[in-house]
């Protein structure tokens, strides 16, 4: 191998290492400064490294070429999913919010990733709170939708000139006091509905942890009795913990108590 070839190989390795260490996409000019080589010289090496998938070109931003060690498409998807996980939004808003997470990308371009993720069923469209529009949530995750619902109700109460805090406090009290009996009776149905909401693929188990978080209106006893009742009716499968003797009481409390020494970690619709 000639000395020229060795130095080029060395340069490429330095370039790739510099890009991998970068916390954000970097411009070719910045990279040239980092590896202390003129911009023109590194362009050939960048081309080879990109062909070799050692680094990836990103879309131009303010007339500068950007590159990074992660493909732009992947980061874009990640940004959309992260935004949808925080709050359910319309396609346009999701495009806008997720675009803020990635430098140099328009909201319009991000909307195409919302479409792709919806086609892949990683995002799910749900009816919005008014009109015919749709909001996007991560498939199987309800938190983003609940946050959006909270914002919506809060806004409407404020518009009417009332204090939203009073409303939410009253809701909590009423849940704890008057609705308990009704919830206990409806518990099996509530559990089935919750599983269907949290897990769009039929038959896939939902952890008791997620279900309990989702169904805070049910106390542990009602929840456990209802789950066992559903199994008796052969409407669900319960996933049994293989070694309950080896876990703490705190961990056991999150599971379903089978009343015979068995504990269950998840529920799936049959």
């Amino acid at each position: 191998m000639s000395s020229q070839a060795i130095s080029e190989l060395d340069l490429r390795q330095r370039i790739v290492a510099a890009v991998r260490q970068a916390e954000n996409p970097i411009t070719v000019a910045t990279l040239a400064k980092l590896v202390k080589v003129k911009e023109e010289r590194i362009r050939t090496e960048l081309k080879l490294a990109a062909e070799n998938h050692e680094l990836f070109w990103w879309p131009k931003y303010r007339k500068s070429d950007y590159l990074w060690n992660v493909p732009f498409e992947e980061k874009a998807r990640e940004a959309v999913l992260a935004a949808a996980g925080l709050c359910a939004l319309s396609k346009t808003d999701l495009g806008k919010v997720s675009a803020k997470r990635i430098r140099g990308i328009s909201a319009k371009s991000m909307e195409s990733f919302v479409r792709i993720l919806a086609d892949e069923r990683r995002l799910r469209a749900v009816p919005a709170f008014s009109g015919r529009s749709k909001l996007y949530v991560i498939a199987g995750e309800a938190e983003g939708f609940f946050t959006a619902a909270h914002h919506f109700v809060e806004k409407k109460i404020k518009q009417a000139g009332f204090d939203p805090e009073a409303f939410f406090a009253r809701e909590t009290v009423s849940k704890e006091s008057s609705e308990h009996k009704g919830h206990a009776a409806d518990a099996p149905k509530l559990i089935l509905d919750a599983i269907k909401t949290l897990e769009p693929v039929k038959g896939v188990p939902v952890s008791t942890l997620r279900l309990r978080n989702h169904l805070r209106i049910l106390n542990k006893q009602d929840f456990d009795i209802a789950a066992l009742e559903l199994r008796k009716r052969q409407e669900v499968y319960l996933s049994q913990h293989a070694d309950p003797h080896n876990i703490s009481q705190e961990e056991k409390d999150l599971l379903i108590d089978g009343q015979d020494g068995t504990y269950y970690v998840g529920i799936a619709v049959r």
């Binding site: 992660v70 498409e73 008791t208 942890l209 293989a242 070694d243 876990i247 998840g266």
Partner: protein, 603 residues
């Protein structure tokens, strides 16, 4: 139960209900494709999506123990045989968090090199036509190793390199491969190799089927293992465009993963989900009939009876509370019932103790020096736990692998075949060790890897370490094989793959059994981890204190109470026969002898 004595005496046919754990790489498994069809469809969808879209993705298949997750992987493998453009990689995740990429590299290499029934290696199918492109895609060493393998040159050594095994310097030179650098991190290199191979296989898909994921946990409360596993899967999904990762997990693992992963990691690792369910009674009947149909000697007689013959339905129907039972428990029961019919006597019920002994023996296998690193990294924590020693995995970039007894003992695995690499490792250990005062160092090395006298630098560094109180402990092949078998046994328990009397054997039960049945070779090894060798007087005092309180105690209990090994107590007691007495036999008893001067005179 109906029985055909004449068949039994004339035809010694086998039992169609064994083995009880899925064998994904075996061709002869009975498979009813309509059972758990949706989970299989999800696996197919994943592979097709990765191939079509050019993005890697993962699928998590949940299921209770014994429901057929490993069996499903076998179905995926058979399907993959019809797709020579894709690579099937089956991985049992029996590894430590610090060695996941080395483990994956080993399995990827083995999958590339494993010949099919036609005698063709996937390597030739996938890369044979692309020899000229290797330079463009792979790094220098990888492309050279692949070239050797494709050209049929230095096959044994090139294959060993691809699997990540250390090679002596002269062999590396003859292969034109570079010598590992002093700062090279084997995990980072292995990750790079795995990702590069995924890149090379494009546009084909590398289908990783990761089984027994629970085995990556060092204990039931371990969070590092699941976290490292999720990080590795995220990396495969993020940094490649051709990986389809199928993760088979026990449902019990679901809560753990949901608690430790953030949203982004969850969406990468558990974004797609499928499930394996227990068998319904109707499915079980068909499966039993299909298994029985594989015994040709029974075919004629079976035509004259119902589909379950020679088994009787009523014997196992009661095992279906709520019309659902795990496949393995059904098959295990049928296996016993079939043996009862075949042999004319009910199967002998053995104790859990005996059953675990047999299971352990079944897991004994010959281990090569190339396996030693992984065996020690995965097995030493288990060994320490069984001896009641608190062991911690050292954090990178420490050259030492573990610390024990509150940091007073540091343990390093020094198994390099390449002596230059070993010398460099020893140098780092010396630097790191001298920085930590008050601790002793134990270096573990396979006894089959001697260090040449001519390796002067390595010898000198070893001498320096020993002069400062460090110890080089050579581990025998016997100890390594026992350790690998124990780890395998525990991994199977962690994954719900061990059963006794139709019940799962828990990891806790296995660990308790190991503590009381440590093979002699391992007992000797674990005694090296203690500080009693350096402080024999301390142990003697501790034994004397114990006997002052209890007068008589089982040797095993004394070792447990003093948090040392049986061998250590035994050695200390024998060293001082005037102070301690020891009664041999199957349960050795330690006692405080009464000296003649103090004995009550008899009249």
């Amino acid at each position: 139960m109906a029985r055909m004595g004449h068949i039994m005496s004339v035809l010694p046919f086998g039992n169609p209900f064994g083995p009880l754990v899925g064998q994904p790489l075996a061709d002869a498994q009975v498979d009813l494709t309509d059972i758990n069809a949706s989970a299989f469809a999800a696996c197919q969808q994943l592979v097709n999506d990765v191939a079509m879209d050019g993005y890697s993705a993962s699928l998590t298949v949940f299921g209770d123990s014994g429901t057929g997750k490993t069996h499903l992987i076998g179905r995926v493998r058979k399907w993959m045989e019809t797709q020579p453009q894709n690579l099937f990689v089956f991985v049992r995740m029996e590894t430590s968090p610090a060695g996941i990429w080395r483990h994956l590299r080993r399995y990827v290499a083995s999958s590339l090199l494993r010949k099919s029934s036609d005698g063709i290696r996937p390597l030739d199918m996938l890369l044979g036509q692309r020899k000229n492109e290797l330079d463009l895609f792979a790094d220098r060493d990888l492309s050279i190793a692949l070239e050797h393998l494709l050209e049929g040159r230095h096959v044994r050594d090139a294959a060993a390199w691809l699997r990540g095994e250390g090679l002596p310097e002269d062999v590396l030179k003859s292969l034109f491969l570079s010598t590992p650098g002093t700062d090279d991190d084997l995990e980072v290199i292995s990750r790079h190799i795995v990702l590069s191979i995924c890149q090379l296989v494009r546009p084909g898909v590398v289908v990783f089927c990761l089984d027994q994921i629970e085995a990556v946990m060092s204990s039931s409360s371990d969070r590092d293992g699941p976290h490292a596993f999720a990080k590795a899967v995220s990396c495969l999904v993020e940094e490649t465009r051709s990986a389809g990762v199928i993760c088979c997990e026990q449902s019990v693992f679901m809560n753990t993963m949901e608690q430790i992963l953030d949203n982004a990691a969850k969406s990468k690792v558990m974004g797609r989900r499928a499930a394996i369910h227990p068998l319904t009674w109707e499915q079980a009947k068909r499966l039993i009939a299909a298994r029985l149909d594989t015994v040709p000697e029974l075919a004629a007689e079976r035509k004259r009876h119902d589909s379950g013959w020679p088994l009787t339905e009523k014997h196992f129907q009661e095992r279906f509370p709520g019309d659902a039972a795990p496949a393995r428990s059904v098959i295990a029961l049928c296996k016993d019932l079939f043996d009862e019919w075949r042999l004319g006597a009910p199967p002998v019920i053995v104790s859990l103790d005996e059953a675990l002994k047999t299971m352990m023996e079944e897991r004994f296998a010959k281990q090569e020096p190339a396996d030693t690193d992984a065996i020690l990294r995965n097995g030493v924590p288990l060994l320490a736990r069984s001896a009641g020693i608190d062991l911690k995995v050292s954090q990178k970039p420490s050259p030492l692998d573990f610390t024990a007894r509150d940091g007073s003992v540091a343990i390093g695995i020094c198994n390099e075949v390449n002596l230059t690499s070993l010398a460099s490792h020893l140098k780092k250990i010396t630097q790191s060790w001298t920085a930590t005062t008050g601790s002793s160092v134990i270096l573990l090395r396979d006894s089959r890897l001697p260090i040449r006298r001519s390796a002067t630098v390595t010898q000198q560094r070893l001498t320096d370490i020993q002069a400062n109180g460090g110890r080089l402990v050579t581990v025998s092949q016997e100890a390594l094989e026992a350790l690998a078998a124990l780890r395998h046994l525990l991994s199977d328990a962690e994954s719900g793959d061990l059963a006794h009397n139709y019940q799962s054997v828990t990891p806790k039960q296995v660990e308790q059994w190991i503590a009381g049945h440590l093979p002699a070779a391992l007992d000797q090894l674990v005694s090296e981890f203690g500080d009693s060798a350096a402080n024999p007087a301390k142990l003697t005092h501790a034994i004397a204190d114990l006997l002052a309180q209890r007068k008589m105690v089982r040797l095993e209990d004394a070792a447990r109470d003093l948090a040392v090994t049986i061998a250590e107590v035994d050695e200390a007691v024998r060293r001082d026969p005037h102070q301690f007495g020891l009664l041999g036999g199957s349960v050795p008893i330690l006692f405080q002898p009464v000296t003649p001067s103090k004995a009550t005179p008899t009249t």
